[in-house]
């Protein structure tokens, strides 16, 4: 655990809603290492998603600094941030967010087409167990299948950082565990960093480190020496 790939320094984010300022993140400082599995825990409104959006280059900080491999992302040009998202980050969302009028395979291709060092789309789809469903449209897939396509789409870009926002939130236990297993496999097999956001504390047991957020502040960082395997997790 030595290579820092992402470093945040006193990151704050606020939104102006009419005359009120809502602070979503307050001076959060952290380091993220290559190849670790991080779980971010916190109740709704604690700033989890905001943190993920900022780490993923989906949103800009209001204050503070963010570095990817030493290069600043805060205040960076749109093109720099786009390149970062394109090559370094893979996203998985709670509600899959597939393109409704592209097939499973095409959804994966959508990502591999623009990445610089992608993994073969067909292989990845096979790895998530959907080789035979490649030609189906999202509406023809179950929720679990859709989320597996989403995982394949994120992984296929071969990103340094896989960011997952409540990836099991809309799934039942069994399907959820399948997804977590896929994430863990990617983490180990390709030695890439995975960051999972959840309000489900039991998932934290499979992490290397657990960030706990409350009211926009990073209240604790817990290191787990012997993470459980996904199959051992339950909720």
């Amino acid at each position: 655990m030595s290579n820092v790939i992402l470093e945040g320094k006193k990151i704050s984010k606020w939104y102006i809603m009419g005359e009120v300022r809502v602070d979503a993140l307050k001076k959060v400082t952290f380091e993220i290492y290559q190849g670790e599995f991080i779980v971010v825990l916190g109740p709704s409104g604690s700033g989890k998603s905001t943190l993920l959006n900022i780490i993923g280059g989906m949103d800009q900080v209001s204050e503070g600094e963010l570095f990817y491999l030493g290069s600043p992302l805060h205040g960076a040009e749109e093109s720099v941030v786009t390149r970062y998202r394109r090559n370094a980050v893979g996203f998985i969302f709670q509600f899959y967010n597939l393109m409704p009028n592209l097939t499973a395979f095409e959804n994966v291709q959508l990502a591999t087409e623009i990445a610089t060092d992608p993994l073969p789309a067909a292989d990845i789809l096979a790895e998530v167990g959907l080789a035979d469903r490649a030609g189906h449209f999202p509406a023809q897939l179950s929720g679990g299948e859709q989320q597996r396509v989403a995982v394949a789409r994120a992984v296929a870009k071969n990103p340094e950082l896989l960011l997952c926002d409540e990836p099991t939130g809309a799934l039942d236990l069994k399907t959820g565990i399948q997804i977590l297993k896929l994430l863990r496999d990617f983490n180990i097999k390709y030695k890439k960093t995975v960051m999972v956001i959840t309000h489900n504390a039991s998932i934290a047991d499979m992490a290397d480190r657990v960030f706990s957020l409350k009211d926009g502040e990073l209240v604790s960082v817990r290191v787990i020496d012997n993470p459980k395997s996904p199959e051992e997790v339950s909720w």
Binding site: N97, Q109, I114
Partner: protein, 785 residues
């Protein structure tokens, strides 16, 4: 991969996009067909003029000999000068109701080439000295004649037999009107015939020539030469001398070309602007709807430029398809349209065609317009941060609408009505789209409807309110009106006689001058009425000139202006008259004066060129018969027959307007259909929820339809001023000497507009109803977008 997304989405929403493609296609179809016609007409004209040596200058004289003509040919600046004999004669056709005329133009068959040469289309050039004639093909066709047939004409009171040797037309009579007061060429009753000069001289018993045509040497202007010729010609009784640009057929052709050109510039633009506006709003809504997808694309690492390009690709595809379809249809349409022009213009080589250049231009136009619409429609949301884009937009703030305070309205609404009213106000973007769509649809239908009704109205007005005589007797040469009255008013069946004087003249004020006809009318004329815009009769002042609005505009003259008048009828030129009134005139461009005052002004006393008669039924055949072969009477015309003739010709002319009206309606429907279908697709979830709650499809439709009618009502109201604006633009583009389209508030086109719009909305709702019935509740509710 984004291309696949594009194609699939285009396919899924094909109805909406097809509607846009259609509007673009219609605009470009008009652009291309009118452009092809413009190019075809002007190329054919230029080629014909140069190949058949159309003269640069024309002069009409009382008479001069061939040696005198030869002397004139050596005047400095004249390249070639020829003298001719030009005479109008009546065709002897007792079996026919109407009068038929031929304009005889002398030719010299022995010469290799001639100015204003006749282009031989069939048959052969008549031999010198023979009674053979070349006749314009339109006349031959209309009267069922062929080379070898004979035509009997009346020359100096005698019947003469001429044989048709061939068919030919010349650049001089491309638009063949007997006199400038006619509006449309009527080949059934008027034609041009070329007769060998010697024969003509013998038949008319005249040696002298009465018509001069000439071309200019390089480096000389018409004005140079006119200055040298005029004094010499005056000794031979010069009636008029004028340049090619004032030659009647050329004037008409140039006007038509100008009209087509302004149509090319205005009408397609109208359609393209409508299409671009609709596309713009469509894209704004699509991008709004696809916020989530845009967010994912951004999260995946697609740059804003790539996403913008993706949305632009829709616009460009729609533009390109519309442009392609439009130009192909345009080329296709140019063929039948050209045949309409063939009917009016005797020009060789008129045909529609395919032009690669216009294809490229229209593709550039359509993709340009669509691209701009797409760019401005989609650029907004792209500025969003990806995380923001992925969140649904904040729901619109709910508050009570103004109408809710209006209890009489609100309390009587069904729940559906209440929902619809609130929807209309809470979604201003969507309501605005529908409003704009309905407004455009209404205006397009009403505008085209206006042109249909106004042409009918113009002609009808002219013959039922302005010219109210029954029969017009035209004299062969000006007569003393007192003699004419004595002769005509005593005839059986004649109830009223009015003298009438048509004076060809050039009216000048400072730099401005205009070739026109001054009409002399009786002081209390009941058979030729000057009317105000509202149709109220204007009394004719005892002295001074009354100008038509158009003429006053041309001359920059107002009441009190002193105008200079030059006329072959005047004893001494020029004479001067003061403008005392200005009246509107939609058909033609004339000046009016009390007949005796005009006679005095010209120094001619009580002259008249025609008589207007009110007669009893059945008197016309008697009059016609009585003067059939009279030397002093040129023609006896019945107004009813003229009105019929106009109506017939109008029908073929209004073809263009019908096409426009049809396209107007089609576009209107496309716009409304589009807005309806897009509204539906945006609200599938909402409507499915209503179905889940147990509403029937009809009840669900009520929510949509109530909203659509509600907004459409305002759309139609907004369409009224929009229509007036369209009309102003179109009227100023189509204005010419013969017609001026008055833009007045007429109820009929707005009724047409309202009916067309209502039918479009009704049809759209039929389609939407079918879609609601097929709406899968489960699918729609499961979907997240």
């Amino acid at each position: 991969m984004l291309w696949k997304k594009t194609w699939r989405e285009l396919r899924e929403n094909k109805a909406a996009y097809l509607a846009c493609i259609t509007i673009i296609a219609i605009g470009l179809m008009l652009f291309v067909s009118m452009s092809v016609i413009y190019e075809g007409l002007s190329n054919a004209k230029n080629k014909f003029y140069s190949d058949y040596r159309f003269a640069d200058g024309f002069a009409v004289v009382r008479g001069l000999s061939e040696t005198q003509v030869a002397r004139l040919a050596s005047v400095e600046g004249v390249d070639r000068l020829e003298g001719r004999m030009v005479k109008d004669v009546r065709v002897f056709a007792p079996e026919r109701e109407e009068n038929i005329y031929l304009r005889l133009v002398s030719i010299r068959p022995e010469q290799a080439t001639r100015l204003n040469d006749a282009m031989l289309l069939g048959g052969a050039m008549p031999a010198a000295g023979s009674h053979g004639i070349l006749v314009d093909p339109a006349f031959l066709e209309a009267n069922n004649l062929q080379p070898g047939d004979t035509i009997h004409v009346i020359i100096a009171g005698n019947q003469v037999e001429l044989s048709v040797a061939g068919a030919a037309f010349s650049p001089e009579f491309v638009y063949a009107l007997r006199n400038p007061m006619d509006i449309y060429p009527d080949p059934l009753t008027f034609g041009v015939a070329y007769l060998p000069l010697e024969t003509m001289q013998i038949l008319f018993g005249e040696e002298t020539l009465n018509d001069i045509v000439f071309t200019l040497s390089a480096g000389y202007t018409y004005e140079d030469v006119e200055g040298r010729l005029k004094p010499r010609l005056e000794t031979f009784g010069l009636e008029s001398i004028y340049a090619r640009k004032d030659q009647f057929s050329e004037v008409m052709l140039a006007q038509e070309l100008q009209g087509v050109q302004s149509m090319v510039a205005s009408v397609p633009l109208l359609f393209l602007i409508v299409a671009a506006t609709i596309l713009y709003i469509l894209f704004k809504r699509m991008v709004e709807q696809q916020r989530g997808q845009i967010g994912i694309l951004k999260a995946l690492g697609y740059s804003s430029r790539e996403i913008l390009l993706h949305y632009l690709s829709y616009a460009l595809i729609i533009g390109a398809l519309g442009g392609l379809l439009g130009s192909l249809l345009g080329f296709w349409l140019s063929f039948p349209l050209m045949t309409v022009y063939e009917e009016f213009f005797n020009l060789p080589g008129l045909t529609g065609r395919f032009s690669f250049g216009y294809l490229v231009i229209s593709l550039l136009f359509s993709t340009g317009f669509a691209g701009l619409a797409g760019y401005f429609g989609s650029k907004e949301v792209l500025k969003l941060q990806p995380s923001e884009a992925m969140r649904p937009p904040a729901p619109p703030v709910a508050k009570k609408t103004l109408l809710e305070g209006w209890h009489g309205y609100w309390d009587n609404l069904t729940v559906q009505g209440k929902m619809a009213t609130r929807n209309a106000f809470r979604n201003p973007g969507r309501s605005f789209f529908t409003l704009i769509g309905v407004m455009f649809a209404f205006s397009l239908i009403a505008t085209t409807g206006y042109f249909l009704s106004i042409t009918d109205l113009l002609i009808l007005d002219q013959f039922t309110k302005v010219q109210t005589h029954d029969v017009k007797v035209v004299f062969a040469a000006p007569l003393d009106s007192r003699d004419a009255r004595l002769e005509l008013s005593r005839l059986p069946g004649v109830n009223r006689f009015e003298a009438y004087l048509e004076v060809p003249a050039i009216i000048k004020q400072g730099w401005y001058e205009k070739d026109t006809i001054v009409l002399g009318l009786e002081p209390n004329s009941e058979m030729y009425n000057l009317l105000t815009k509202r149709g109220v009769k204007v009394p004719l002042p005892p002295e001074g000139l009354v100008l038509s609005q158009k003429l006053a505009g041309n001359l920059h003259a107002g009441v009190g202006s002193r105008l200079e008048i030059e006329s072959p009828y005047a004893k001494e030129n020029p004479v001067y008259a003061e403008v005392v009134d200005i009246v509107p005139q939609h058909l033609g461009t004339n000046a009016y004066m009390e007949i005796n005052a005009l006679g005095r002004l010209l120094g001619q006393g009580h002259i008249s060129t025609a008589a207007l008669l009110a007669v009893e039924e059945g008197a016309y055949p008697y009059l016609k018969d009585r003067y059939r072969e009279a030397k002093g009477v040129f023609s006896v015309e019945e107004k009813g027959a003229m009105l019929n003739k106009f109506n017939e010709l109008l029908e073929s002319y209004s073809f263009t307007y019908w096409i426009l009206a049809l396209f107007g309606m089609f576009t209107g429907f496309a716009v409304i259909y589009n807005s309806g279908v897009v509204s539906l697709s945006e609200r599938r979830r909402e409507l499915a929820s209503l179905r889940v709650m147990g509403m029937t499809p009809a009840e669900v439709l009520q929510v949509l339809s109530f909203e659509q009618w509600f907004v459409s009502l305002f759309g139609m109201l907004a369409g009224v001023p929009m229509t007036m604006l369209f009309l102003q633009v179109m009227a100023s583009a189509m204005d010419n000497d013969l017609f001026s389209f008055p833009v007045v508030f007429e109820l009929q086109p707005f009724i047409i507009g309202a009916v067309g719009t209502t039918v479009s909305i009704w049809l759209t709702q039929k389609v939407i109803f079918r879609k609601i019935r097929r709406l899968s509740m489960v699918e729609a509710l499961k979907e997240r977008d």
